[in-house]
């Protein structure tokens, strides 16, 4: 099997956030929102393991999909070297996706930081749904994909930690305010642990359907090595599910946050 695909374009969304558009029939034909690809950032040893990156946008007609990533460590720094026309080695689509809302349902989406990327694909993919999106960023400079979210949602609320854009503070604030007067059929969340934990617990208490996309360091990315453990309920006991295969999307009730 050859996992190399062609890069159609690269784009810098903010200081640290970059986007790569890739043509791949294999991936666009079967991907669903919430899934990720496992990317080889170099051909050698410098960032030896693949990096999991969510699928952020899919265009079935021209067989392309986007990934957006934050430049952090070795692997994502190497990703910044890729250019239009280069081949990129991507395994995917991998993992479970979100449970898609039914037509006519009302959903809320709560994303923070790099957690917003899989959520864009989600809101882009559901039609006839009332979508309210809450996004949290560090500051104004970090705000990305705002127009895209705006276009595909009914309402977009942005919060920044430092108040330089939108509402000041954590994004959970406006979301919980909104919940006082709204009852969504489904809530989806992805982002920093404190945020997703809070959202999950809030929804569970109120008996609202909630799905959470989890992150964990990965080895194989396909379910074989058991390194990407995520603590989940197993009857009265607990166990470890695989983020790469049993997830990354889990029902909130199933998760045991540590």
């Amino acid at each position: 099997m050859d996992f190399r695909e062609r890069i159609i374009k690269t784009e810098t969304l903010s200081k640290d956030i970059h986007l790569i558009r890739i043509r791949s029939e294999r991936i666009t034909d079967s991907a669903i929102p919430g899934q990720f690809v496992n990317v080889r950032c170099c051909s050698g040893l410098d960032a030896y393991l693949r990096r999991p990156i969510s699928i952020c946008r899919v265009c079935r007609s021209d067989k392309t999909f986007d990934i957006a990533y934050m430049k952090r460590g070795k692997g994502t720094s190497l990703l910044c070297n890729f250019r239009e026309g280069d081949a990129i080695d991507v395994i995917g689509p991998l993992g479970s996706g979100f449970t898609m809302p039914e037509a006519g349902e009302k959903i809320a989406v709560v994303g923070g930081g790099i957690g917003i990327f899989p959520l864009l694909y989600l809101v882009n993919s559901c039609n006839d749904v009332d979508k309210t999106v809450f996004l949290g960023f560090r500051s104004k400079d970090a705000v990305v994909l705002k127009d895209d979210f705006e276009r595909s949602s009914n309402k977009l609320v942005i919060a920044t930690d430092d108040g330089t854009f939108g509402i000041k503070g954590f994004v959970t604030g406006p979301f919980y305010d909104w919940l006082k007067t709204n009852r969504p059929d489904k809530v989806y969340t992805c982002g920093p642990l404190p945020m997703i934990k809070s959202v999950a617990e809030y929804c569970i208490e109120r008996d609202i359907f909630c799905e959470v996309s989890m992150e964990q360091r990965m080895g194989c990315g396909i379910g074989a090595c058991l390194v990407c453990a995520c603590k989940v309920k197993e009857g009265l006991d607990f166990g470890y599910a695989r983020v790469c295969r049993d997830g990354p999307v889990f029902r909130a009730e199933r998760l045991l946050f540590e």
Partner: protein, 301 residues
Amino acid sequence: MDLSVNIAGMKLKNPVIAASGTFGFGREYSKFFDLNRLGGISVKGLTLEPRKGNRPPRIAETPGGILNSVGLQNPGVHAFIRDEIPFLRGFDTAVIANVAGNTVEDYRAIVEILSDADIDAIELNVSCPNVKEGCLMFGSTASGVFEVTGAVRKVCKKPLIVKLSPNVTDITEIARAAEAAGADCVSLINTLLGMSIDIEKRKPVLANIMGGLSGPAVKPVAVRMVYETAKAVKIPVIGMGGISNGNDAVEFMLAGASAVMVGTAGFVNPNVWVETVQGIEKYMRENGFEKAADLTGALII
């Protein structure tokens, strides 16, 4: 050209085996390539009872390698026999049950159960660095390895492979203990004990603090130990540690290995097992080897 090798009473169609713990029970990778192309599969380490494994994070990337601290998460030997053997038997490849325990009694019990199961061999993991008690202790002394191998041998009706730890002063002493206690074969190396620190958080990357190092970084240590071991024992040696292609596999075979296992490299390249078989074949063709078995120990000193 004949790629098949005979080890420990098994005939493998080629010398390439998927390394335990990196390949689950084969299901996941079966979607990537035809498992019939493998010489064998060593399954995820099994214990008598199901095990949850260690807290995450369980993996850290290091220069040219990885640390893992999975800690033997597995569904237990009974679930393996019930749920996994039928699937694995759908392929024409050797099935090796990798087993671990905390006590000699554990090892004896699980081997007794597996002796009646439809598998080709048992690989005794006496060297897992990721569990607090138990197998690491056995694997680090010759007497420990002798004791557990001997106890198991009495009840083992399958070819018995003992998997050795590299975290020892003298691997040959340990290998000879396994041989003396009745092992049909030794496999090595398991992972090197290592540690990695996140200096921003000032905490170990792994929740377990330490983990086992594998991948290309360990290859020279593994080749050395395979070379030493192959000279020290008469039973066959299965070599592993950082193999990423056919050339690496040939290196282990020239050093004395009769077969090889490949693990970590598959995380990066799911084709690695098939490519390793092809690479060995290519080397044999270009260097005039008729039989893969002739590569074993063909080093010129």
